[in-house]
Symmetry: C2
Subunit: 138 residues, 2 copies
């Protein structure tokens, strides 16, 4: 299955998620780990679309989500910065999800500068995360 | 906001629905009314995307859905047959929603031949409807 860039943008406007996870991690300097991920979840009947995304981007994995749902997921910082971010900069999302993407990119850039390893940076990432997805003022 | 065909196909693969409503209507010969509709539902924050779809297709309406959700909806048989169906024939859906589209088109074609007004046709539409969307064997 071959996907076109605009199809992907439309599909991600509907089904994609730019997510920042923050979890306790005692071995990290600031006590927490920051885990950004780009995810597209589908019912397992459409797993071939997830593999087509993986093939298009040349990165990420197809993994189990919940129950009969599967996910295409990208977690590696370098794949995000070199592949995912440039793609959505070139092919702009049309829905308000674009604002989540902009916050997501901001966090990635901070991580590249290792700011997430310091308390101040982590706090700033928390504030950005709080404004994303369901937390955003509509 | 200008939309490209492939963006629309991707977005509809995620968010669109081809729905066949069947409701009691004592004045109809078979006692029931068949109401096909093509719908895209979004949170009201993205209402401009729904208006962009309306503008792209040159038919349909933007209406209230439930709570803070809005919908772009096409119900007129002629708009469906002349605009919506040809669009998705030209720009094929990539997910299994394509199968719903094929069932949907079948019902529209039966309606054009007034088969939904007879008991046998109505029964056949019921069987097609049962196989669509959540009723489909994955």
């Amino acid at each position: 299955m071959n996907l076109e860039s605009q199809w992907i943008t439309g599909f991600v406007d509907g089904e994609g998620c730019f997510h920042i996870g923050i979890s306790r991690h005692p071995e990290m300097k600031a006590g927490y780990q920051v885990l950004p991920e780009f995810v597209v979840v589908q019912h397992e009947r459409d797993i071939q679309v997830l593999y087509a995304l993986k093939s298009f981007f040349g990165c990420g994995r197809v993994v189990n989500n919940h129950g009969d749902r599967k996910a295409f997921r990208v977690r590696k910082l370098e794949h995000m910065m070199e592949i995912i971010v440039p793609f959505f900069e070139k092919h702009e999302l049309k829905t308000k999800k674009r604002l989540d993407f902009i916050c997501f990119r901001k966090v990635l850039q901070m991580m590249q500068r290792n700011e997430h390893l310091e308390e101040a940076g982590l706090e700033r990432i928390r504030r950005i995360k709080a404004r994303m997805n369901r937390g955003r003022i509509r």
